[in-house]
């Protein structure tokens, strides 16, 4: 049963995508470490880290696409799950600093010593263990999504109302994490990391390993998403997106279908956040900014929602644009992002992936066009408008003569 589901996940597109990601996971760190600097083919370390960051963004966009593109839930708070996963990883990294902090306290992170805390709060216990941190990276975002989704979907909160409460959720978390007495470093967040699994975070080898881990995690997410959307449950998710109440009358519990998608998606977002933090070296409450979550929606829309590859392309391209713009013309970036969103909404409702599909259809039609007689419908429409079909020759394919 499960093997069948796995086989179904490996459709042609997913195989290609997974193969490319796995190839990148090997090739990019290898090009960084094995080819000496200055030689052709060398990839500088900052590029490895930059693209490693993009891959975690791509994973976040893919997670959002699972709920938005396939299940019709527009979450404007997915950044919250990403940030929670990031905080869980950040707490592990803080505990790894040990006595190398400014105050050299063996257990307490610097900010706690600074705030005169005497001992580690209960919710920081266990984070010195990597396995425990990994468990929390999955559990905390997953549980939050489960509880939040359970109440929201059971009360049949849908559409724009749901989007608003997801936005409120991430904003509430933003305010909470800003508070110093929450014990998560307040405004400054968690930073100044030293080691991950005994390896220095800044080392080129660690950077390469983190890049590879991000690429592999993204490949696994592609497999999981592909398995879900190709299953019957995936079809039911699309049915929920297109005609929610109809799906109910077929006997499906729509709230549970949504809850499943939302929880899986939150866990994926959490893992992405956990891989993001060691690569950028900081996590602070700014990650909960509602604007961040909205940006994820833009990446997904630009790439093409309702496809597996779309959000990945969108996240990488938009962030490459962002890296360029914020360097070259920082004051213009937000205008460019806004314009991009409007452009995509108006002209590319299916994103870049949809554009490729349209182009393929058009070329296919053009190949058939010379042989085929003009469609009668066109002539009829023209006649209705009181125009002579023959005068439309400029804009429409000419009838075969």
């Amino acid at each position: 049963m499960i093997t069948q589901a796995l086989l179904r996940a490996l459709d042609k597109k997913a195989i290609w995508l997974v193969a490319i990601l796995l190839a990148l996971a090997v090739a990019v760190p290898a090009a960084n470490l094995l080819i000496p600097a200055g030689q052709p083919g060398h990839v500088p370390t900052y590029i490895v880290t930059l693209f490693g960051k993009y891959l975690t963004y791509a994973m976040l966009a893919l997670a959002l696409d699972l709920v938005w593109g396939y299940c019709g839930i527009l979450s404007l708070g997915h950044g919250a799950f990403f940030a929670l996963g990031g905080y869980a990883m950040g707490m592990y990294l803080m505990r790894q600093i040990g006595t190398r902090g400014v105050y050299a306290h063996p257990t307490l992170p610097d900010f706690m010593v600074f705030l005169n805390w005497r001992e580690l709060p209960w919710y920081w216990q266990g984070f010195d263990q990597f396995w425990f941190a990994c468990l929390m990276i999955v559990l905390v975002p997953g549980l939050l999504a489960f509880v939040f989704g359970f109440f929201a979907f059971r009360s049949r909160v849908t559409g724009v109302y749901l989007s608003i409460i997801t936005q409120a959720m991430t904003f509430a978390l933003l305010l909470a994490f800003f508070r110093n007495d929450m014990g998560f470093g307040g405004n400054n967040g968690l930073t100044d990391f030293k080691d991950i699994l005994g390896q220095p975070v800044q080392a080129a080898t660690t950077r390469g390993a983190l890049f590879a881990a991000s690429a592999i995690a993204l490949a696994l997410s592609v497999l999981v998403c592909s398995m879900i959307v190709n299953s019957k449950l995936g079809k039911v998710m699309v049915a929920v997106r297109d005609a929610e109440s109809r799906t109910r009358f077929l006997g499906y519990r729509v709230e549970y279908v949504k809850l499943f998608a939302f929880t899986v998606s939150a866990i994926m977002a959490g893992i992405a956040g956990a891989l993001y933090v060691p690569q950028v070296g900081i996590i602070n409450p700014g990650e909960f900014e509602p604007a961040n979550s909205i940006e994820v929606v833009i990446w997904t829309a630009v790439g093409g929602r309702g496809t597996i590859v779309g959000p990945i392309i969108g996240a990488v391209l938009v962030n490459m644009g962002k890296s360029y713009f914020t360097g070259a013309l920082p004051e213009l970036w937000l205008f460019a992002l806004g314009a991009l969103f409007i452009f995509v909404t108006l002209f590319l409702p299916k994103g870049i992936v949809g554009l490729l599909g349209q182009w393929r259809d058009m070329t296919a039609r053009r190949e058939q066009a010379p042989a085929a007689p003009p469609p009668p419908a066109q002539a009829a429409v023209a006649a209705e408008r009181g125009e002579d079909p023959a005068t439309l020759g400029d804009v429409q394919p000419k009838p075969a003569e």
Partner: protein, 249 residues
């Protein structure tokens, strides 16, 4: 409760009001197993509201609704009622347009509806044979891989009837099945529904009198939320009140 015995659907004294407007007013209807009932009546008579109450979309203010002589439908939600064996076809054909005809039927097919059972579902040979069978019945076998959005209006109606069959319900609620169909399709639909009614209970709401005549079954005329007349189509359409309120002189 005893009164509901040996009935497939039992509505007694059902009333519901929306903002003071009585959509149903002390409505009582009985449908027996393997019986077809046609419901006619003017717009706003409460036909669709009645279906909403049976399928759990709307809760009645008063009255009893029992299914299969024992299950109180007023306590259950849409999904639970659908899984009991009540299938509904909507007035406006609602099929899943972005999915293929085959996928529409596969989703409707009577199977466990749990999340993980659905996630790991793969169609057995028996399921495939059943879907192929239904495709033949509703004459969509050659369009199985087309998107439901590309079907004609009549074909969508039939696909929805096919989805009802796939659900294998004990009771079918069919709201205006022949709206937008050609005459030939209408005759064919009447034949199909009569065939279905040999083994299941069917409630048909329809305005098309020639179609109701083709069904040759018991007719109930609703008006202003309660039963106006009941009997064969000839009896009902000869009733002076029905002529006055619905058919017109």
């Amino acid at each position: 409760m005893n009164k509901a015995q040996d009935t497939m659907l039992y509505l007694d004294g059902v009333s519901v009001a929306f903002d003071g407007f009585k959509a149903l007013n002390n409505l009582s209807i009985i449908v027996r197993p393997a019986e077809m009932l046609a419901i006619i009546g003017p717009n706003g008579a409460g036909k669709t509201t009645m279906m909403d109450i049976i399928t759990g979309k709307t809760r009645p203010d008063a009255g009893d609704v029992y299914f299969d002589g024992r299950t109180d439908l007023t306590r259950l939600d849409e999904a639970a009622i659908a899984n009991l064996g009540i299938g509904r076809k909507f007035q406006k054909p609602t099929v899943f347009e972005s999915q293929t005809v085959w996928d529409n039927l596969e989703m409707a097919l009577k199977k466990p509806r749990g999340i993980f059972r659905t996630l790991f579902y793969s169609a057995s040979g028996e399921d495939i044979a059943r879907i192929e069978d239904i495709l033949d019945t509703v004459r969509l076998a050659d369009r199985r891989d087309d998107l439901a959005a590309d079907l004609s209006h009549g074909q969508k109606q039939w696909l929805e009837i096919g989805m009802l069959l796939a659900q294998d319900p004990k009771l079918l609620l069919v709201d205006e099945p022949v709206a937008g169909m050609t005459d030939a399709e209408t005759v064919e639909t009447a034949r199909l529904l009569k065939e279905i009614a040999e083994t299941r209970s069917v409630v048909v709401v329809e305005h098309d009198m020639s179609f109701v005549r083709d069904l040759a079954t018991r007719v109930v005329c609703l008006a202003e939320g309660s039963v106006l007349a009941e009997g064969t189509l000839d009896q009902v359409s000869a009733n002076p009140i029905v002529i006055e309120r619905y058919l017109g002189r």
